[in-house]
Every structure is written in C-alpha cells, then in structure tokens.
C-alpha cells in the first residue's frame, strides 16, 4: 500500500512539474520571446486561465504527501525551511504579478509586473530543480529523523551540506533550461504570429543545451547516489523510464522540425515524465536519502497507518476522476490559439 502511495505522490509531483512547468517556463522566456506590449499580453494570456489550476497540483501533491508519509513531510519541510519559504514568496509574487498585471493599465506598472513575473518564474525553476538535486544527493538526516540545511555551506558534497552546492546548482540549471524548452513549446502551441515563431526557435535552441545537461547530470547522478545504480541493476525493467525520457527528447526535436506544435509539447512532457520517474525509481525505497544511509527515510519508516492509506486511496480515486472531468472541460473551453486582441485576463 505504501508503494502505491509512493507512486501516486510521485505522479502528482510529476503532474505538477508538467503543468506548472510550462507556465514557469513561459515566464522564464517571457522577455526573450515577447518584445512589445501586445506580444507580452499574448504570453500571459496563453497561461492566464490555467496557471492557478496547475498550481493546485502542488497543493494536492503536498496534501497527499502529508497524509501518506507524515514523517517525510515533517522532516523535509522543516529541513528545507529556508528554500521552501523563499519558494512561497516567489509563488506569491508571481501569482500577484500574473493576476494584477492586467488590472493596472499603466506604462510603468505593466513592465514592472512583467519583470516580477519573469524573474520569479526563473528563480522558481532553479529552486525546484535544486530541491530535486537535494533529494537525489541526500540530506544530513540523523537518528532523530530531522535535519536542517542552510542555504549553502561550502558548496561541496560533504557531511553538512547546504541546499546549494555544485551538484544541486547544476540540477537547477538543467531544470531551468528544460523548463524554458517546455514553456517555449507551450507558447508556440498556444500563440500565433511572431511570438509563437520566436518561442519555437528558442525551444529549439534550448533543446541542445538540455541534451548536453541531461547527459552530464545523469552521469553525475549515478556517481552521487549509489542507490540509483543498484536499483537499475536489480530491476532492469526500470530502464524503460530513461528510455522514455530519451525518446521524449528526441521527439521534441523531430516534431519541431516537422512543425507539429502540439506533438512537440507532448514529447517534452514525456521527457519530463521519464526524467522524474527515473529519479524516483532510482532512489526507491528511500523517499529522502540521508548522507549517512543508515538514517534515510524510506517508504516503510515514513508511512502513515494502513487504514488511513486505504481509505485515502478510495476518496483520492473519486476526487481525481472529478478533477479530470473539470480539466478536460476547462481546456476545451479555452482551446485554440490566443490572439493578440483577446479579451484581456482579469478584466
């Protein structure tokens, strides 16, 4: 049962990354693909009706993590105290910027909100990547099941690590590049004209960087976290996950060249799904590896009571079916390209 929840929470996190990922990516490339007022409005409009729905996945995944693995929630949230609070501030700034950008029609405030939106998106992409890097690398848990990491220590992978070290920063950069590609593909799919063309071109450029970074970071991951090698050796079937990632990445380039915008975006989704599930597969049965392997949190020592997990599965399935129905409904209602003179968001 706890393994089912491990998979479900991982899938919800992946869902969050796929969905909020494209609007974070769209934010990060905001200034690169949109030069004029009208073009910037197009970028915002392409994510306007869906971004907060996407962010709900973060809350839903957080909630599931909370009740299924309370010890993990308690340990990781208090241990990552500072970066999580900063993520919250960035989410607040970014949400405010998207929502209120179109409320205040002023030649000085619109560029200001654009800047806040783009800057917060960019930093969030790096932070979320670095967070993933921390999980892969392991944290300084001790016998109490707790740890606390400062933002940085000596940037090395020693005993007392910080949130940021050379490895997690590299993962953060990879996340940013990959999300820029992902966001670019979304913007290309959702907008027409110059913005869409630039977004597609930028995604194509990012693709090469993502290719290189994926290779480097993957190689380093095997070196930093021995469990990953062991898991792939024990269950060779797991190779299907990195293969999905590689196929997705190849698909992005292929579909971009063939001019299939939606397919290119979906291929990028496959890349993310493959990468994230590979990581999760690689650290299993740990949910939060410790620098000292004896203190790692695993699915069995972090799980909640059996009854709660079982009853949770029942309502979770019902809730997800409902959520899927709403999602299909809203994506259909807002389907199609965003044009430059669309009704502006928020008014």
């Amino acid at each position: 049962m706890e393994t089912i929840w491990f998979v479900l929470v991982a899938l919800m996190v992946a869902m969050y990354v796929l969905l909020d990922g494209f609007d974070l990516g769209a934010g990060a490339i905001h200034f690169l693909v949109a030069k004029t007022q009208e073009e910037r409005r197009q970028v915002i409009a392409s994510i306007g009706p869906v971004w907060d729905g996407n962010e709900v996945w973060l809350l839903a995944a957080g909630g599931a993590l909370y009740f299924a693995f309370p010890a993990l929630y308690a340990s990781s949230f208090s241990g990552f105290y500072l970066p999580l609070m900063m993520v919250l501030w960035l989410l607040i700034l970014r949400g405010t910027a998207v929502e209120f950008r179109n409320h205040i029609h002023s030649p000085i405030w619109i560029p200001f909100w654009d800047f806040v939106f783009s800057g917060a998106s960019l930093l969030l992409a790096i932070f979320l990547g670095a967070a993933l890097g921390n999980v892969v690398r392991g944290v300084p848990l001790d016998a109490s099941g707790y740890f606390f990491e400062p933002l940085w220590t000596n940037w090395r992978l020693g005993e007392q690590t910080g949130i940021l070290d050379w490895f997690t920063v590299l993962v953060g950069v990879q996340a940013l590049l990959a999300l820029m590609m992902h966001g670019g593909l979304w913007v290309q799919y959702k907008t027409s004209g110059e913005v869409g063309r630039r977004a597609g071109k930028l995604a194509g450029l990012c693709w090469w960087a993502v290719l290189v970074m994926t290779g480097i970071v993957t190689a380093l991951t095997f070196a930093v976290q021995p469990q990953v090698t062991a898991n792939f050796k024990t269950w060779p079937l797991g190779y299907v996950l990195p293969v999905l990632a590689v196929a997705g990445l190849a698909g992005v380039q292929l579909e971009l060249r063939r001019g299939k915008e939606l397919k290119a975006f979906l291929a990028s989704c496959a890349y993310f799904l493959g990468m994230l599930t590979s990581v999760v597969f690689g650290v299993y049965p740990m949910v939060l590896p410790a620098r000292n392997p004896a203190f790692s949190l695993t699915v069995s020592n972090a799980k909640a009571g059996a009854y709660g997990l079982k009853i949770g599965l029942i309502w979770w399935v019902i809730g997800m079916i409902l959520a899927t129905v709403y999602f299909v409904f809203v994506y259909r209602s807002f389907a199609g390209k965003v044009t430059a003179n669309v009704e502006s968001h928020g008014d």
Binding site: P49, V50, D52, G53, V56, L58, L59, A60, G62, G63, A64, Y66, F67, A68, P70, A71, Y73, A74, S75, F77, S78, Y81, L82, L84, M85, L88, L91, I92, L93, G95, T96, E99, F100, H103, I104, H105, S106, P107, S144, Y146, F148, A304, G305, Y307, G308, I311, W315, G319, M320, L322, A323, Y326, F327, V330, S333, F334, E343, H345, G346, D347
Partner: protein, 461 residues
C-alpha cells in the same frame, strides 16, 4: 517573545489571520453572487447580471490574494510544526489533502469559467459556474474547519505506543460534531462579512448619489441576508458552540468568561479586565446568574471556574482569550442591532433616505472582519496549552531544528510581503468601487483610455 515556540506561534498566527481576511469575504460573497445570478435568471433583468459582474470583480481580487496567502498555510504545518505533523499528519493530512483534491480543483476550474466565460457559457451555464465556485469555496471551508475541529476535539483516531497518531475512523474525523457546529458558526460569520461589505458599498453609492439603483440592490440584499445571518450566528450556532466548549473544554469556558472561582448561579461579565495574578476581574460589569443560565438553562447551575483546574491546564494567554471572546460577542450583538434596525427601515421604505443609518452601515465595514478574527482567536487561544486537545501540548509540536532566528527572518519577510499585498488590494478595490457596476458595459478599449492610465490619486483615500 524570544523562545522558538513563541516565534513559531506568532508566525502561524500572523499568516493565518492575514490569510483569513480574504476567504471570509469570498465565501460570503460566493453565496450572495449565486443569489444575484438567480435573480438574473428569474427576472431576466440585466441589472442583476451587472451587479453580479461587479461583485465578481471584487471577488476575483480577494480570491487571488486568498490563494497566494493560502499556500503558505499548508506548508507551515511541515516547516514550522514538524513534530505535530509527524505525529498527526496521518489524520489531519487527510482533510487537508481532501481540500486540495475536492475543492481546489473545482474552485480553480470554475472560477476561470465564471470570470471569463460569461458569453461562452450562456445564462444557465454561467449560473452553474457561479454555483460551482460557491460549492468549491464552501467545501474548502469545511475541510479546514474539520481539521481545526479535530485539533479542538479529536475523534476517529488511535494513538500508538510510539506517540504516532493514526486514523481509525474516516467518518469519525469527517463528521466530528464539533466540526459541524464550528462550520456553521464560521460560515455564517463569512456570510456576515459578505453582507456588511455589500451593504457598505451600497450605502457608499447612495450617500455619494451615484450608481443609486445598484446601491439600493446592494443594500437590500446585504441587509436581508445579513439580518438572518446575524440572528443565526447568535442562536443556534453560537449558542451550541458555547455548549460544546462548556462540555468538552470547561477550563476554556472559565478563561473566556473570566470566571476565576467556581460558583452556583455564575454571572456573565459584560465588561471588566482580568487580573490573572490576583485571580480577579477588575471593574466588572456583570449580569448575575446569566452564565449558568446560558450554559445549562438553569439560573443556579454550578459553573466551574479556573480555580477548579490545575494551572498547567489553563490556556496560557487568558487575557487575550478573554478579550477576543468579548470582542466577538460584543460585535455579534451590535450586528444584530444594526442589521435588525436597517431591516426595519428597509421594510418601511425609509432606509434609502436615512442618511445617518447609511453612514453607520458604511462605517461598519471593518467590524465583521474584526469579529471573525476575534472568533478564531477565541477558538485557538482557548485550545491552549494543547495543540491537539488533551493529546499533544503546543510546546511539543514545533520544529526542533528550525532556530528562532530563521523563523523571525521568514516572519518579517511575510510581514513585508503582506504589507505590499495590502497596498495593492486597497488600490484595486478602491478603483473597482470608483468605477462602479456600470463600467462593465463599456467597450474594452476604454480600459486603455487616458482616464484609465492615470491611476487614482492615492491621497484621495
């Protein structure tokens, strides 16, 4: 103020108090907007559609701030209260996760349709969008109240030898009787905020002699719903809430009422300042025997005072608890008076010309916010020194590894962030009120006209 525990408490108190300023309005308005949309459907009059659109804009601004300030709340259980989360996450994580799965998806999806899809959805479709936004926000309220109710009156759980708390009955958690009555009390409180805000803006329009047709609609609706809510808030919801506290948290009742000594035929203190070290109420103004009557429907019933309980069971901030409770009850009483008198004038057709009453209604707008805040403070301070009543003390709940310095850092950060949000909120709400309900009918190009690019001069606040 210096120990890690105090800073963690202040951190949660500050962020939750600020956050709840927004949902209390949006939950109340959601109901009123559904009523306006229903009038629109039944009468076919564009007037109600425009009124609903105006309130949808006010709703949208408040909802957005409610969302961005709400995310930190769920996070803080883990970041600042890790010992509590580790022990009880298997139980309260259920309700918090259900809020995400059942209400946030519903709310966020239909809010988008409600705000931007009026033309696309048609009249009936748009009514449903409004209804689902209402349903989502009220469901969300239930899951949060059920979470708090479990901390007030834990049910449906079992504690293991390790101290970990497991869920043992799903329906026991979800249908906790404490949750049902607390929910009723809380939601009526939210409706009161919605009604007072609606009536206040109506009064503002009539007093300023503009948008008068809308002003009258807002007053009529705010007062009609408001008078019902004000009465229901006293009884049955407030009354039953009080009985639950008397039965399950008797020491809390004693502290709320400032009753230091046990007695038969206990009085209710209307005014007075508790002097805890001396165990007395200074300058008391009391109604004799009233507390016995209110609690047990018997004028001479025995009510236990604080002296009946060991001091380590007392709420640790008795003064603040006493005043929160008295402010809440005092304001609740004033709401009944204001709403009932306004309703009387309204039904006799005299309200719209009674300028002094309009002034009272307009200036009352902060009061329901204060009452709701004070009510929550009463509940949460009254629960002390327990984090989970009778099960886990607050002092055992916070994150052991997060130093007070880090907590101060993030608390100050939130204070700064929320100051900026408040300024933005004031500006945007003021501007929507200035524009008024009619502006919606103008073509969208007007939004970029020179008048709009000139921001409203802030000194006019």
């Amino acid at each position: 103020m210096g120990s890690a525990l105090d800073v963690h408490r202040l951190h949660f108190a500050f962020t939750i108090t600020y956050h709840y300023l927004f949902p209390q309005l949006t939950m109340g308005l959601a109901l009123l907007i559904v009523i306006l949309k229903t009038f629109h459907l039944r009468t076919g009059s564009e007037h109600y559609a425009r009124a609903a659109r105006f309130w949808a804009k006010i709703f949208g601004i408040n909802f957005a701030i409610g969302v961005v300030t709400g995310i930190p709340m769920e996070f803080q259980f883990g970041t600042n209260w890790s010992e509590f989360s580790k022990a009880a996450g298997g139980v309260i994580g259920q309700t918090l996760a259900m809020e995400g799965v059942f209400s946030f998806f519903l709310e966020s999806t239909f809010l988008g349709l409600f705000l931007f899809g009026e033309k696309k959805l048609g009249r009936i479709g748009h009514w449903f969008a409004a209804f689902f936004v209402f349903l989502g926000s009220w469901l969300s309220g239930y899951f949060i109240v059920a979470t708090d109710a479990w901390m007030q009156h834990p049910t449906g759980y079992r504690q293991l030898a390790s101290g970990e708390i497991e869920l043992s009955s799903f329906w026991g958690l979800l249908l906790n009787k404490w949750a049902l009555w607390q929910y009723a009390h809380n939601m009526i409180g939210a409706v009161q905020t919605g009604c007072f805000v609606m009536a206040a803006i109506g009064a503002f329009y009539l007093l300023s002699k503009r948008e008068e047709a809308y002003g009258r609609t807002f007053l009529k609706m705010g007062i009609t719903v408001g008078v019902i809510a004000a009465i229901l808030q006293l009884a049955p919801s407030g009354d039953l809430q009080g009985k639950l506290i008397a039965a399950n948290q008797p020491v809390t009742l004693a502290a709320m009422e400032g009753l230091f000594t046990s007695q038969d035929g206990a009085p209710v203190a209307i005014l007075g300042q508790p002097d805890v070290p001396k165990r007395q109420l200074d300058n008391p103004l009391v109604i004799p025997r009233m507390l016995s009557f209110l609690t047990y429907r018997n004028w001479s019933a025995h009510v236990r005072g604080l002296d009946d309980f060991p001091e380590d069971q007392w709420p640790d901030k008795i003064e603040l608890l006493y005043f929160s409770y008295h402010v809440m009850v005092g304001l609740g009483t004033i709401f009944i008076a204001v709403m009932a008198f306004s309703a009387f004038l309204l039904w006799h057709g005299k309200l719209y010309d009674a300028r002094w009453m309009l002034w009272v209604l307009m200036l009352s707008v902060p009061l329901p916010y204060i009452a709701n805040t004070a009510g929550w403070m009463t509940a949460e301070l009254g629960r002390q020194p327990w984090l989970i009543y009778g099960v886990m003390r607050t002092i055992h709940g916070f994150s052991p590894r997060v130093a007070a310095g880090n907590t101060w850092f993030t608390l100050i950060g939130f204070m700064g962030m929320y100051t900026l949000l408040s300024m933005l909120w004031l500006f945007l709400i003021y501007r929507e009120i200035e524009r008024g309900p009619e502006s919606e009918g103008e073509p969208l190009t007007d939004l970029t006209s020179p008048v709009e690019t000139e921001p409203v001069v802030p000194t006019r606040y």
